[in-house]
Structure formats: C-alpha cells, structure tokens
C-alpha cells in the first residue's frame, strides 16, 4: 500500500495512492457536493457537480472529485471562483431540465442562483444513473436501464413494461437524489405497517434477543433473490456476515429432556366480530406490548396507525378463552397482562382506558392489590362480554371511532363505547405442532392439546415417558412465576436422574421362564426395546429386564406360557376377568 501526500483547501493529508478524491476530502471534513455518487457503486462522474480544481506539477485542471484518483503531491481547491462558476453553470443546466427539484434548488441557492439563465424544466430525473447502477451492480436485478440518447435519454424498464425482474426492493427509491422514483402505493402501505415488525432483511429480533445477534430473513433478503447485494457484508467491519451459512442438524445424546415448547396466542381473526385485520386500530395485546417496550419500534409510545396518540383505548379480555367457539378454558394470564397494559397505556398515552371483562381473575401474590391500584388509577372496568367492535357511528361522538358494543351486566344495559384503539387480550392455545412434538416424545396431550403430566399432583412435571419432563405453557396456560417454578422443578427432576446415576426400573417388567421356553422366538422381534434375545447357546429366548418397559406384548404372544409379566400375569388377569363378572 502506497501512501501519497495530498493537500485539500490547504489541509495536508495522506491517502492511499489512487483513492477517489471525494473520499479523501470526506475523510478530512472538506465538503464536496455530489449527486451521482454513492459509496456502494462505482464512481460515474456524470453529474459533474463535484468539480474541483487540481494543481499538479504546475498544471491546473478542473476534474470531477468522485472519480479522480489522488496521486502524490497534488493540491486541491474546492471553493475557488472558477470552481464555483463551473458548478453554478452545471446547476443551471440541471435546472434547465429539472427546475423544481428541491435538492437542486437548495444547491442553487448556495451558489447564488435565483433565476436560472436557461429556464426551469419540468423533469425530475437528472439522469445520474444511481438507480440503474444500484439495480444492476448492488441488487443484481438488472431491471433498470438508460434508453435513447442526447436530450431524449431517460431511465426506465425495457420496452417501458413493468419488469418481472424488479423485486420491489426499493433500493432505487432509496438512492434517487431527486425523489424522482417512488414506491407503488400498495408496497408503500405494507412498508407503512412495518413499525411493528422488522424493518430490514437483516435485523436483531428483539432488543432482549438471546443471543443478541442479527439474523437474516431468507425470504426478504435481496441476496437470496438475485445472488447479488451483500451490502451488509460490505459494510460489516467485523466481517461477520456469511451468506453461505446453512441450516445444520445436530444430534445430541442426552439422558433426559425437558419439553418447554410453550404456546401460541389465539389467532384473533378466529373472533371476527372484534374486527382484527379489518380495522387498523384493532391490535393484539402482544402488539401493544411491542409498542410499550422502550426499545421497541415506537420507543415506548402507544400510537395509532396514523402515528397519533389515542385518546381512549378499550381492552377486551377473554379473546379466544372461555368461549365455546374457540377454547372453553381460561387462559389464566390475560386478566393480569390486560391490567398491566391498561396501566402502561394510560401512563404512556394518557388515554382513557376501558377493560371489558367477564370475571376478574387476579389470584396470585400482589395481583388483587394491583387490580385495586388500577381501580384507583381511574381505569374503567365494564363487566360483560363484548358483542362486537365496529366503525359504524350512530352519534357524532362516535364519528371516526371504533365503537365497542357490550352488555354492561353490572349496570344491566347495553352500552356503546367509542374508542380510538381496541386491544384484544388473546388467550393461549397449544402450539400447532404440539401433536408432532407429542409423538416425538411419546407423550400424551389433553383434549386441548396441552401436554399431559404423569399426575397432576404427584408427578406434575413428569410425563408418561421416563426422562422426559415438561415445563411452562406447553403443559397448560400459566404465568411467568408459575412457569419459572415449574421449570425449576423440571430441571430438578432431570438433575435428580443425573445425580442418582441410576434409573429405577418399572416394576411390571416381563420375564421368561427358561424351563418352559421352547426357543420358538416368536417374542424376539416383538420387543420394541430389543430386550429379548435368542440365546444360541441355551436355545431359548432370554429377556433383559433392564431394557424391558413392560408392555406385555411378548407375554400375550408367548404360546408356551413361558413369558409372563410381573403384576400382569395370565393368572392375575384371568382372575380379574372372573372378578369383574361376578354377579
């Protein structure tokens, strides 16, 4: 690497030989205006606004700083009269084409242009080519190009047809210096909804994410669409980004497993009368949770879709719980998290908050006190299941509001309450893939899909499969303190197994009476645990009781009455049959 000496506006500096001049200037804080320049693409030198004066070995030249490579000993002047005159002329030419672009007019003002000599054209594209270059060099979509020559030159798509190569990434919009290119309304609308989700294809899932590392969304990353871009990799100083990473499957041998696969919130669209998905300001509790997070997309503000603060907010409890149409059970946590959100929404937005509840279930340490606190805070509590949420205004006061229609069972009348925002306290339900997980671990599910514990009181974190434990909402709805307690119990159970260093066998294993066994081997392949082996030496089948799980299938199959099962012998079961049939 060869360093060269450069002087810019009297400031001496050193730079790598042949570095573009604009970069060197930027580094030392000398401002050179640019229009067609962008660090992600190769210099193009087409707008010429970056023109500067270079003195080299007695020669004086005007050059474009964006693509002029520095060499040793050059002296650069960016604000001489000649430079300013030249830039002024360039700006006037640009204005002759695009007379109303704000950016150009700001620059023009800097150079003392009030009325451009060549008039003001109506175009907005200055033909800088940034969009074309970003689209092909960075995005790799090659959807844009230049067409025609001279005064009729323009940027567009082939044959002016909508291009099927465009991936709607918006990079051209992003780089266009004049705002000539805009996004389709529909796409813009989707982007408008983004504040509650990731803004870019590479993002850190949440501020609290563990590990606290960005992830790349395969489906929206440009690189995986066009094989180009890699802008993130280019700007990452740590060189940490590897687009070549592949999903990896790892097999890990363990002695016990804790299944804590959790729950999923009930899809609020299953309760269509509350208008989720129809009205933009009907949101779920989790979305509000996202908003009230200080490090979240709204910096902790509770905002309506239009960015304004709500004056009134209605929180509807039991959405997808205690409802024969969705789940009959109580999701246990919604009352308390609704109270918490009521408190936070009120605190952050000053809005009037209504809670619509069936029963207030605030059992738990400090919970009832919190409920009383909310009552004192002025939060409204209306007892009754909400019938519907609509934007159908009956009175002027309801205009532009969401109207919650509810029977107030304490007042004994049907009320209509207009609010700006409706929060749906969605219940908890078993995960969609609970059945697959259940099969994987040979567990059972309750009819609602929650994993079944071995015994509700005596073995609350054990399952029917030895060494597999459950904790958290996978077992049933519960709040964080209960989950943590249960997780501790499950971990202790798992540790107890490790600590003991031995496992207790089931008492009801099978055994084979070798005196009776003829060695017919019917039983051998029946055992799913390979506990039975045929002894070539003794010519009989032998059973390893340590491997036997006690299903008794071999016993039922043994034609010699040689295989029997502890506690389930033929004689015992036969006697049971006689017993249950005694008149």
């Amino acid at each position: 690497m060869k360093l060269v000496k450069v002087t810019i506006d009297g400031i001496r500096t050193e730079a790598e030989d042949r570095t573009p001049l604009v970069q060197v200037a930027q580094k030392i804080g000398v401002k050179i205006p640019t229009l067609c320049h962008h660090p992600l693409v190769e210099p193009y030198g087409v707008c010429r606004i970056c023109t500067v004066e270079v003195h080299m070995r007695g020669r004086v030249r005007l050059v474009t700083a964006c693509n002029y490579p520095v060499t040793d000993g050059i002296e650069v002047f960016t604000q001489t009269d000649r430079v300013r005159r030249t830039r002024k002329l360039i700006l006037e030419w640009l204005l002759a084409r695009c007379g109303h672009v704000p950016l150009l007019n700001t620059l023009a003002a800097e150079y003392g242009i009030t009325e451009p000599r060549f008039g003001r054209g109506d175009d907005t594209c200055i033909l800088c080519g940034l969009c074309v270059r970003v689209c092909s060099d960075v995005v790799g979509a090659h959807a844009l190009g230049f067409f025609n020559r001279g005064t009729t030159r323009y940027v567009g798509t082939p044959y002016d047809e909508p291009s099927d190569r465009c991936i709607a990434c918006g990079a051209c919009v992003e780089v266009c210096p004049t705002g000539c290119i805009t996004m389709d309304d529909e796409v813009e609308q989707i982007r408008g909804e983004l504040p509650l989700g990731p803004m870019t294809a590479i993002y850190i899932p949440t501020m609290q994410a563990v590990p606290h590392q960005p992830v790349i969304d395969y489906d929206s990353c440009i690189h995986f669409k066009t094989d180009a871009c890699r802008v993130c990799a280019a700007v990452c100083e740590a060189k940490a980004i590897d687009h070549g990473q592949q999903d990896r499957r790892e097999e890990i041998q363990v002695g016990s497993i804790i299944v804590a696969t959790g729950f999923q919130p009930v899809d609020p669209q299953k309760v269509p009368q509350y208008g989720f998905g129809r009205y933009p300001n009907v949101v779920t509790a989790l979305q509000v949770e996202h908003m009230v997070n200080a490090s979240g997309p709204t910096n902790g503000q509770v905002l309506l879709k239009d960015g304004s603060r709500p004056q009134s907010v209605g929180i509807i409890h039991c959405v997808g719980s205690r409802d024969k149409n969705t789940h009959e059970y109580c999701s246990r946590v919604c009352c308390m998290y609704s109270l918490k959100l009521a408190h936070l929404v009120h605190e952050r937005s000053g809005a009037k908050v209504y809670n619509f509840y069936i029963d207030m279930r605030s059992a738990g340490k400090g919970y009832e006190e919190f409920y009383n606190h909310l009552l004192e805070e002025g939060c409204e509590f209306i007892r009754g299941r909400v019938a519907e949420v609509s934007d159908w205004a009956v009175t002027p006061a309801e205009q532009g509001k969401l109207v919650i229609r509810v029977e107030d069972t304490l007042a004994g009348l049907v009320r209509r309450i207009p609010v700006d925002m409706v929060v749906l306290s969605t219940g908890l339900e078993a995960r969609e893939d609970a059945d697959e997980v259940r099969r994987l671990f040979n567990m059972s599910c309750s009819s609602e899909g929650w994993f079944l514990e071995r015994h509700p009181k005596l073995a609350p974190v054990s399952t029917f499969t030895d060494g597999v434990f459950i904790a958290g909402c996978a077992q049933g709805p519960k709040d964080i303190p209960d989950t943590v307690a249960q997780a501790g119990a499950a971990a202790a159970e798992a540790l107890a197994l490790i600590d003991t260093g031995q496992v207790e066998l089931e008492a009801y294993t099978a055994w084979i009476d070798e005196e009776r066994c003829s060695g017919c081997q019917i039983c051998v392949p029946l055992c799913p645990f390979s506990a039975i082996e045929f002894s070539r030496e003794k010519k009989v089948s032998t059973l390893n009781e340590a491997l036997c799980k006690g299903c008794g299938t071999c016993v039922a199959a043994c034609p010699s009455h040689a295989a029997q099962q502890h506690h389930f012998t033929d004689a015992q079961i036969m006697t049971e049959i006689e017993g249950v049939l005694v008149r």
Binding site: S446, S447, F568, E576
Partner: protein, 138 residues
Amino acid sequence: MATTAFEPRIVAFFCNWCTYTASDLAGTARLAYEPTAPVIRVMCSGRVDPQFVLKALQEGADGVLIGGCHPGDCHYQEGNYKTLRRFRLLKRILSQFGVEDERVRLEWISASEGDRVQHVINEMTDQLRKLGPWHARS
C-alpha cells in the same frame, strides 16, 4: 326368578397410557356413561391375549372392548399394531364360534378422548341390549 331387563356386561381392556387415561379423564370431566363396562387395565393393548377375550365370554360377559392408542401413538411404539393383527384374526375365529361382530370391539382412544370412552361404551351397551345376552354354554 323375577325377570329383570337385560343389562349387558362388557369387559373392557384398556391400555394404561391412552384409553385408561381417557377413562380417567371421562371421570374427572364427570362424563356419565353406562355402568356396564368394568375396566381391566393393561400396560398396552398388546398385552391383551386373545385368551382373555374368550375367557371373558366364557365367564358370561356379553361383550368385550379393547382400547388402545391410535396407530402411531403407542407408548411402546408398535404394540397396537400387534393388537390389530391379533384382533383381525381373532374376529374370524369368533365369527366361527358364532360371536356376533358387535360383541367384541377394538377402539383406538387417545388419552384426551374422554368423551370417546363415554360414546363407545354407551353405543356398545346399546347394541348389546338389542343383541341380547351371550351364553357361552347352551
């Protein structure tokens, strides 16, 4: 002897992990069903020896119900498939012995299907009432 209405007696063999748990669930859910089917618990429906079915009929049962996990759900991986094979062959023999199809039944009832226990026992009891008693000996 006073004639009383015929109440069928069913011997039910339920596997510990699915159907027996389901019948427990039916109990905790207070699902009432006909008191016609005392349950004999086995660890797996694969333990149900065809001899048990015949023994129950010989001892005067009017029906036999075997309950196991759904195929693919067996706590012991494949015990219920073995049950199914035995059951299909047993049914052929039972038909030769003159045992009507409804009398001996195999049902897959998972641990969560307490209502299914209720339904199956009620339905079977109904069918057996119509069918009348089974006398193993003439």
